[in-house]
Amino acid sequence: MQYYYWLGGICRGNLGRSLVYKEDVSALIGKRLPVTVHLGLVSLFISVSLGITAGIVSAVTRGSFLDQLITLLANVGVAIPTFWLGIMGIYFFGLKLGWLPIWGYTSPFQNFWLSTRQLVMPAVCLAVVPLAMMTRQSRSSMLEVIRQDYIRTARSKGLKERAVIMRHALKNALILIITLIGLQVASLFSGSVLVETVFNIPGVGRLLVNAVFSKDFVVVQACVLVVAALVAVVNLATDIAYGWLDPRMRQG
């Protein structure tokens, strides 16, 4: 019955009241969500742009030293503990070299320069795991495409290798890669829980961790719900984009 009331409340946009903050949970999350989204978008941009580039380079030069190096780095990147990477970043770039501030978050509308400086380390740390996954996946989908008949046709009609890769292979590989971006969003949320804790950033991830600590279950379930809803929306969006990019999918 309690669950029924809770469900009814959600439909009306009411996530309940926090047991600890004595504030509406929707307001709590509303304040923190933009922070997490800002961080996540920057990381997504880093991981997607670098990941696709690295994956394609690695697939095109398959078997070379460069390919082996990229594959090795991608494998290490998948296995790296995000929070540990953050701590090491704080040690080297924050404490030893003093290049970057070690914690905090400022809205880019308040102070753009400070905000960017504060965001560099968290965003890079958060990007590492999705970047490595993106590299591996775009490498494998590129290899998949290169094996197709139409690539052989393109080559045999005398196109330059560059044109074959850029025009024929890349276009088709991108379709596969788009759907992978949807999967990265979930891993970004997982990572943001850790990165926000290490760098003391007031986002949804930190809110969730603090709520778990203080046994504030209303906030915990609201956070999980919001994150799941966002992931579902992004996946839906990539599915739609997929149908839009690939006419073959529209009939199915």
Binding site: P81, W84, L208
Partner: protein, 305 residues
């Protein structure tokens, strides 16, 4: 998090180059040859073997007791007595790292075991019977799959509380959806085969078909997923312990060691550096072995990932 993306290419495979009954010698030999062809895979196997040996013989290998405090020797640098120095309570860092292998391995094996047992059973039932059971189970799994792995594990840990056992259960539960999905897909593809129909025609019972014919033919991709998830579980346990929601302080767990070393980062970076390096190496090895297994078990994916 990762299981989803890993499960995708796996669930597509329909062929079972590994026959149900005892694999023939040539199959086994081919498997071994492909599996051990790449050097990184051999390195991974070696590191995992080293991990197991270290965990088994931890009391013999560790120079000190991992929990013995000696405040007069707190926060010392590396020396002949303490190879990697001591932490803020004067505990020998190397000994704690060695005993940490036990926790890591335990968490990996048990949480993945929980996930496999529950996930395989649910997937088998859903795929075999179909109908409303399948629909119901799959909608629940779909909903769980929308929640990022670590967030889901956090939510379970919030309900169950901290401590080693609860962390293992939380991680296990959070991994279930991936297994359930993969298993269901496998069962559906096995059901297309002639031997499945043959077994039904000769009148084998439901249980017998499920356990003798369907289950063994679904295993190869599950084995790959198990190996890959060992790394993921160890990584996630370290993350939970780092957040302070996982394993409680006196126990020597790598994530918790990073957490307590974090406070002394400026003066003693080694305290948080070494446990992280251990996690990285172990997780990397499990991933490498998992990739090697996939190459060996599914010839079509060879060399592409």
């Amino acid at each position: 998090m990762r299981p989803k993306s890993q499960a995708k290419p796996l669930s597509q495979e329909t062929s079972c180059s590994f026959a149900a009954a005892p694999p023939q010698v040539s199959e086994w030999r081919r498997f071994r040859r492909v599996f051990l062809k790449r050097k990184v895979v051999i390195c991974g196997v070696a590191i995992i073997a080293l991990l197991v040996v270290t965990a088994l013989f931890a009391p013999l290998l560790a120079p000190h007791h991992p929990d013995k405090q000696n405040l007069s020797q707190a926060l010392q640098g590396p020396s002949g007595e303490h190879w990697l120095g001591t932490d803020h309570l004067g505990r020998d860092q190397l000994s704690r790292l060695i005993f940490g292998t036990r926790i890591a391995l335990q968490v990996g094996v048990i949480s993945v075991g929980v996930a496999t047992a529950i996930g395989i059973t649910l997937g088998l039932v859903a795929g075999y019977f179909g109908g409303w059971i399948d629909h119901l189970l799959m909608r629940v799994i779909d909903a769980l799959m929308a929640i990022p792995f670590l967030v889901l594990a956090l939510a379970f840990a919030a309900v169950l509380g901290g401590g080693l056992v609860n962390v293992m259960i939380s991680l296990g539960l959070a991994l279930v959806p991936a297994y359930c999905r993969l298993m269901r897909g496998q069962v559906l593809s096995v059901k297309q085969n002639d031997y499945f129909m043959a077994a039904r025609v000769i009148g084998a019972g439901t249980c017998r078909i499920m356990l003798r014919h369907v289950l063994p033919n679904c295993l190869p991709p599950i084995i790959v997923l198990i190996t890959l998830n060992m790394g993921i579980a160890i990584l996630a346990e370290a993350a939970l312990s780092f957040l302070g929601i996982g394993i409680n302080p006196p126990t020597a767990a790598w994530g918790a060691m990073i957490h307590s070393g974090y406070r002394f980062l400026l003066t003693h970076p080694l305290l948080s550096f070494m446990p992280g390096l251990c996690i990285l190496l172990v997780v990397l090895s499990f991933n490498m072995v998992g990739d090697g297994l996939r190459d060996a078990l599914d010839p079509r994916l060879r060399g592409t990932l």
